[in-house]
């Protein structure tokens, strides 16, 4: 069966050049980089080289990069560590309604610890308005965390303007850039931000590794205590193959992103247009222009996401939906709801996310299969029959 992977926002395959770069550090050069003997010191050099590559991708300094076990840990570290270390400034945190759970739930955890949390709304495109931040921010605001690009709908925020407002107020600004890095240009200096999270497996690096950029001088408490690794910011024996893989993936992105973006945007347009032409009653979600490349988020009225995914899977198409099963009932995506989409419609969401290896044939295949899937489910839907919704 033909397999078409259109879930690159969930995870990506490790690029062959990345896996190759990692390979020696599992068995041959497996040494602990904190050890003193020369073979271990050579591994240390490779770790520092990887740090330099990641720094280069972000236009940061190597000393500003702290390796973590992924995007989730980076977000936790930024929010918990940033808020706790600067508590004297105040106990107010601002975030947005469309954040990933690694940010949202972490803010809510801090709320239980006595922080006050403001969750900014978004407009119908998923955009946080600078005005709403300006209104919410106050002298006690210690931290503002707004994601760079949304994982479900792809909307990109005006981080530069938002960060400027935070800076004017003396508040730290963090951005979850897990879905931005690898897809669009990210320049921490130009953005003027204090912290940024990324995760390697979203851009052809390995799972289980990511990093937190922390601007020089910004005080952040470490999350994990123990050995003094990562300049005392992150304890634990370094995941050397992971770090070296992340470095190589950063280099890959630096070299190929622009060309990739162009190609992916073209295919994305083909897919959007094809869906529009072939299927009635569809609603595209996300910002019409300010979007990362390759993220097609669409709601099909009258039907439900999980069923769609399973039928697509039957035909070898891998995609995702904001609709997820919780123990009591289906839960519509908090992102779509925050954008003002009704729960009925939000339940019918489908996310097709393209990647570097996506081919024109893949898109054509999806356009062949998808109308039938939607039709089949609509034929079963009481909503469709009744014609409301």
């Amino acid at each position: 069966m033909k397999l078409v992977y259109l879930d690159h926002n969930a995870t990506t395959p490790v690029a062959s050049e990345v896996l190759e770069a990692m390979h020696p550090y599992f068995r041959e050069d497996f040494y602990n980089p904190s050890s003193i003997y020369s073979p271990a010191q050579k591994v240390r050099e490779k770790v520092e080289e990887a740090r330099l590559k990641v720094a280069r991708l972000l236009n940061a300094e190597p000393s500003e990069i702290v390796f973590t076990s992924g995007g989730t840990e980076a977000n936790n570290q930024a929010i918990i560590g940033g808020a706790r270390a600067n508590r004297k400034k105040g106990n107010h945190i601002i975030t947005s309604a469309i954040e990933h759970h690694a940010v949202l739930d972490t803010c809510l955890r801090l709320e239980k610890e006595g922080f006050e949390v403001t969750v900014l709304p978004v407009d119908q495109y998923g955009t946080v308005s600078p005005e709403s931040l300006q209104k919410a921010i106050k002298p006690e605001t210690v931290l503002v965390s707004i994601m760079y690009a949304n994982n479900e709908v792809g909307t990109v925020q005006d981080i530069k303007t938002l960060a400027h407002i935070a800076r004017q107020n003396g508040s730290l600004f963090h951005t979850d850039a897990v879905q931005a890095v690898g897809k669009i240009k990210v320049d921490v200096k130009e953005l003027g931000i204090d912290m940024l999270s990324l995760s390697a497996h979203k851009f052809y690096g390995p799972k289980g590794i990511g990093c937190l950029y922390i601007k020089k001088g910004v005080k952040v408490e470490s999350l994990l205590t123990g050995g003094g690794q990562e300049n005392k910011m992150r304890a634990g024996t370094e995941n050397t193959p992971g770090i070296i893989g992340l470095g190589r993936a950063a280099e890959f992105i630096l070299e190929n992103r622009e060309e990739m973006e162009k190609r992916i945007r073209e295919l994305e347009e083909l897919l959007r247009q094809g869906i529009k032409d072939r299927i009635p009653d569809v609603i595209f979600t996300g910002h019409p222009e300010n979007r990362v490349p390759g993220c097609v988020s669409v709601c099909f009225k009258y039907i439900e996401g999980e069923s769609m995914l399973l039928l697509l899977d039957q035909q070898g198409i891998m995609a995702s939906s904001g609709s997820a099963c919780s123990s009591k009932s289906l839960k519509a995506s908090h992102v779509l709801l925050a954008m003002g989409i009704t729960p009925e419609i939000a339940h019918g969401s489908l996310r097709l996310s393209l990647g570097k290896d996506t081919k024109r044939e893949d898109i054509e295949y999806v356009l062949e299969v998808l109308p039938g899937v939607v039709e089949k489910l609509r034929a079963m839907s009481p909503l469709y029959r009744r014609g409301d919704g």
Partner: protein, 149 residues
């Protein structure tokens, strides 16, 4: 150790110059503390106000050993006044730099040398005023050890 230590540090660590003790030393300086993990002892022979011979013994890390070795090379043949001008920084520089956590090791070397010179001067005053033998080993040694922190 390409990263941690410079070529010069490794050279002086692996092939330390002037290890040992000077027979009938004119001055002895010892600094450090075994429980802190470093002791440095420098012994000098002085002729015409110049350091004619110098030897060291060190209990400590590679940086401590290399700085001891380097300082003996730097001051051998120098006048006492010149030798006293050697700073910790200069020793570290001569070694092509030390890792930041190791900078304190270089303090030991210059301190030990200063102490050895002071010991030499003190003995001269002692012997000038008391007429005792200038090079009374036993006496000077005990003095050096009394200075131990």
């Amino acid at each position: 150790m390409d990263k941690m230590y410079t070529r010069e540090v490794m050279d002086h660590f692996l092939n330390p110059r002037n290890v040992g003790s000077v027979e009938n030393a004119d001055g002895v300086g010892e600094v450090g503390n075994a429980s802190c993990g470093d002791i440095m002892r420098i012994e000098i022979k002085v002729e015409d106000d110049k350091i004619a011979d110098i030897k060291f013994q060190t209990f400590g890390c590679a940086a401590a050993i290399a700085t001891s070795s380097m300082i003996t090379e730097l001051v051998k043949g120098k006048t006492l006044t010149e030798a006293e001008k050697i700073t910790n920084k200069k020793v570290a520089e001569a070694l092509g730099g030390l890792p930041p956590v190791k900078m304190h090791c270089s303090n030991l070397a210059a301190d030990a040398l200063k102490k050895a010179i002071a010991d030499y001067r003190e003995r001269r005053i002692d012997s000038d005023s008391s007429g005792h033998n200038l090079f009374d080993r036993a006496d000077s040694d005990s003095k050096a050890f009394k200075d131990k922190p």
